[in-house]
């Protein structure tokens, strides 16, 4: 084994990778930590420098699933990218925006729209927030989701106008009911090309259409400004509001830093957001380099996607295009309470401790335990191989330390450690080639991912 010189603490890199990506095993972290921390952050943010995964083979190996109209396939592909992309931050940011701009198949039955919607979040999620809102307002899935195609000059439909202000940009309490109405008026005529159900023409790729004749061109008063506003003027005004910077900062903090909001740190993120001229990648660079981020280890409850993808990465599952069961990964996140591309309502998922209820917890433990406990899983096999490569016997306590370290520098509290030893009944050294070693190692890995500690990122 060639040890590279470590320039950054591996534990800190592990933390960064759990948050900005979906976690990595030690073997990958050691590689990264030969760089300075700031370079590692820059490498994650500069997504253009890495290619996206080649999905041609994935399609060909999954012909029975690869159906453009089936949302389960779109979900499975997304999970494949979360596991394999060399641009993990792009997928993570898409996941953040998906929780905020929560749009779903429960209503948008044309899955081509949902696929395009997800791609929009991924392609523009790290860019300028104003551009992102504009893309969102022109996104066919969003238009259909919030009934924009029924927002007419002579009969306004407030749905998009209201949620744009409440859930997508400013937050409740920062505008009036009158602002909602005026906002809706400004977006009249913003529609899409397939407003009808699939029959008789089937689903096709829909695109944004602006109908000038259906736009209410009158004077509007919005957030204290008056003019003959159209939708893009409204977005300009929204983005300038201090409430918007604070709202976005709060969402970024909640998604990347901690479940416990800290107003001072959120304020700093809001300031950085304004200074960056609302560029998301710039504000993320500020966050990842901040002390409050570095000190926030294990202060977030993992989302179901993080549990599923993170565990699959450790177990080395679905790293090839032909492995069976990719769509089952999408089912797993749903059973844990996060059906991707199908949030429960327009306000997205309740996060933090609300990811944990008895049903979801059972799913988390059962899924992770089964996956990591299989010593034939490529990642699990690699972990065991690295542990046993330079020894023939190992004590149970060394084995536990090595497992935790190999799984990305995670830890168990002292009582949990003791419980693992007690219940596995292992006190004497283990022969690394014995059946007993395999049994203990598998149970140990299972108990680690079943623990309360493993639920935190």
């Amino acid at each position: 084994m060639v040890l590279l010189k470590q320039k950054t603490d591996v534990g800190l890199v592990a933390h960064l990778m759990r948050r900005a990506a979906f976690g990595e095993p030690l073997v990958a972290l050691e590689d990264r930590s030969s760089q300075e921390y700031e370079s590692i952050v820059n490498g994650l943010i500069d997504v253009e420098a890495c290619p996206r995964p080649d999905e041609d083979l994935l399609e060909r190996h999954n012909l029975q699933h690869a159906d453009e109209e089936n949302p389960q396939w779109t979900r499975a592909r997304w999970i494949y990218r979360m596991i394999n992309s060399r641009r993990p931050l792009e997928e993570k940011v898409a996941l953040m925006w998906h929780g905020i701009f929560a749009t779903g198949t429960s209503k948008v039955i044309n899955n081509r729209m949902m696929r395009t919607h997800y791609e929009m979040l991924r392609d523009h999620g790290l860019g300028n927030f104003r551009d992102l809102l504009l893309k969102l307002a022109r996104d066919p899935a969003m238009i259909y989701w919030l009934d924009q195609q029924m927002n007419h000059a002579d009969a306004a439909n407030e749905n998009f106008g209201r949620e744009l202000l409440e859930l997508f940009s400013m937050g409740i309490g920062n505008y009036t009911e009158e602002d909602v109405k005026e906002c809706a008026r400004a977006f009249t005529g913003w529609t899409e090309s397939q407003t009808i159900p699939r029959y008789p023409n089937g689903f096709y790729d829909s695109e944004f259409v602006y109908r000038d004749e259906d736009h209410d061109d009158g004077i509007k008063s919005f957030l204290g400004e008056t003019g003959r506003f159209n939708g893009d003027d409204i977005i300009d005004i929204i983005v300038r509001q201090p409430a918007t910077a604070r709202f976005v900062a709060g969402e970024i903090y909640d998604f990347f830093v901690s479940d416990n909001p800290n107003p001072e740190h959120i304020g700093q993120i809001a300031d950085a957001f304004v200074e960056s001229d609302y560029v998301v990648s710039e504000v993320l660079k500020f966050v990842f380099n901040s002390d409050f981020f570095k000190e926030s280890r294990f202060q977030k409850v993992k989302s179901p996607s993080e549990v599923v993808v993170g565990t699959a990465i450790l177990a080395g599952r679905h790293q090839t295009s032909y492995e069976f069961g990719l769509t089952m990964m999408a089912t797993a996140t749903r059973n844990m309470g996060q059906d991707l591309l199908n949030p429960p309502t327009v306000e997205g998922w309740h996060t933090g401790r609300e990811w944990i209820d008895s049903s979801y917890l059972v799913e988390r433990v059962n899924f992770a335990s089964k996956m990591i406990g299989d010593l034939d899983a490529p990642g699990t096999a690699k972990i065991i191989e690295r542990i046993t490569s330079n020894r023939t016997v190992i004590s149970p306590s060394e084995l536990l330390d090595e497992c935790l370290s190999e799984m990305g520098k995670i830890s168990l509290k002292a009582p949990s450690r003791q419980i693992v030893f007690d219940e596995l009944g292992a006190s004497a050294d283990l022969d690394c080639r014995s059946k007993e070693f395999n049994e203990v190692a598998s149970q140990m890995l299972r108990l680690i991912v079943s623990s309360r500690e493993y639920q935190f990122a």
Binding site: M150, V301, S359, L361, N366, L424, Q443, L447, R452, Q455
Partner: protein, 387 residues
């Protein structure tokens, strides 16, 4: 006046049970119970109005939505109480906030204490039974959250359990370790989320052991449909009939946010609600388990009086139902007038606070003191229950 004896054993010595069915998205009450007698109905509903010929007429110039045949049958048996004009002061038209208000019974301040969580706490103050409250379907609703009070959430009853892919000694070993790793007494340091995880883990284990007794003991001639709500209500029937002591049940159906395509969407959804609720009560009656059960059906708000050309936008005034064999059927408030001068910013006025219904159920059905649960003193309805 409910006596002290009555407080805990209201119905035939069987403890009273309360089922909540949440319709998420803001159900349009005006086309659920349709006020044809109001001369303004078709004036404001000229595109999404229900034709009079199709509707299921009941007394006084009102009618149920055409797809609600099963609930109409329960009404004919006088088992459906209708509360038109449910709402609260300073209505909030955000789904998120309004649902929170209903779930926490608190319209003034943000809170994370669910009203049913407090109800479960007061029904079982010594925490003798972790399955006192059970929710079926997509996750535990905030209404059932209360720190320190157990509540079980089940997606599917079949196969529910921990580490079920293991067997024999390995499974016993892993479950025992899990039990200790989630036990509070093993850990000195703690915080809210850590404790919540621990309690949830222990409750899940205990609850799974109890719940898995329900399906084998159940038999019924009622065949529920395969949709999610029907399966949730079937699960509720199974758990209730198994006699493990669940007092509060929760089920949900989403999709009621009909800004567009209202006619088609509401047809489908209300048919789903009505059919599954009908099957549920048929099942309970067949198994001698209906007398002690009431169901409340609610939505976080209603919709604007005037339609938007293809659907309806968020509005404040809604309506609520209580259904059960011990419910005295009928209208419990006048239907709000649709006349423009009687509207509240384009919405139906509300005639009673939703916490009046909560209080009525809590005190008169469950025998609890409603004040700490609903955060105040609200007028109650009289003679809703036949007890």
């Amino acid at each position: 006046m409910v006596t002290e004896v009555g407080r805990n054993q209201i119905v035939d010595r069987k403890p009273p049970v309360f089922v909540v069915l949440q319709l998420s998205g803001g159900n349009d009450f005006m086309s659920t119970v349709i006020p044809f007698k109001d001369p303004h109905y078709f004036e404001f509903r000229n595109t999404v109005g229900i034709p009079e010929d199709n509707a299921l007429h009941i007394d006084g110039g009102y009618a149920f939505h055409p797809s609600m045949g099963a609930i109409k049958n329960l009404w004919d048996e006088k088992k459906v109480a209708i509360f038109p004009g449910t709402g609260y002061a300073s209505p909030n038209r955000s789904h998120f906030r309004s649902m929170d208000i209903w779930h926490t019974a608190n319209s003034e301040a943000l809170s994370s204490d669910g009203w049913l969580g407090k109800t479960i706490r007061d029904l079982d103050p010594n925490k003798n039974n972790v399955v006192t409250g059970v929710s079926f379907g997509s996750g535990l609703p905030r209404a059932m959250y209360l720190s320190g009070t157990p509540a079980i959430s089940v997606s599917e009853l079949e196969g529910y359990g921990l580490l079920t892919d293991l067997a024999g000694r390995q499974q016993r070993q892993a479950v025992k370790a899990f039990t200790r790793m989630y036990a509070p007494e093993e850990f000195e340091e703690a915080d809210v989320v850590w404790d919540h995880l621990g309690q949830t883990g222990i409750d899940a284990l205990t609850g799974a052991d109890m719940l898995k007794t329900a399906p084998p003991a159940y038999s019924s001639s009622v065949e529920y449909a395969s949709d999610a709500l029907s399966q949730s209500l079937k699960g509720i029937a199974q758990v209730h009939l198994s006699g493990i002591g669940t007092r509060i049940f929760y089920a949900q159906l989403g999709g009621f946010d009909v800004h567009g395509a209202q006619i088609q969407t509401q047809n489908k959804l209300l048919e789903n609600v009505s059919r599954s609720v009908g099957d549920f009560f048929d099942d309970l009656r067949e198994n001698n388990g209906s007398e002690e059960v009431i169901m409340m059906i609610f939505s976080e708000f209603g919709r604007r009086v005037k339609d938007n050309g293809n659907g309806t936008d968020h509005g404040s005034g809604g309506g609520t139902f209580l259904i059960g064999d011990r419910v005295n059927g009928g209208f419990y408030d006048p239907y709000p007038s649709l006349a423009l001068e009687d509207q509240l910013d384009g919405d139906m006025q509300f005639s009673h606070d939703f916490r009046s219904i909560y209080s009525t159920v809590l005190e008169q059905w469950l025998g609890l003191n409603p004040h700490p649960i609903v955060n105040g003193n609200f007028d109650q309805f009289e003679n809703v229950f036949d007890i």
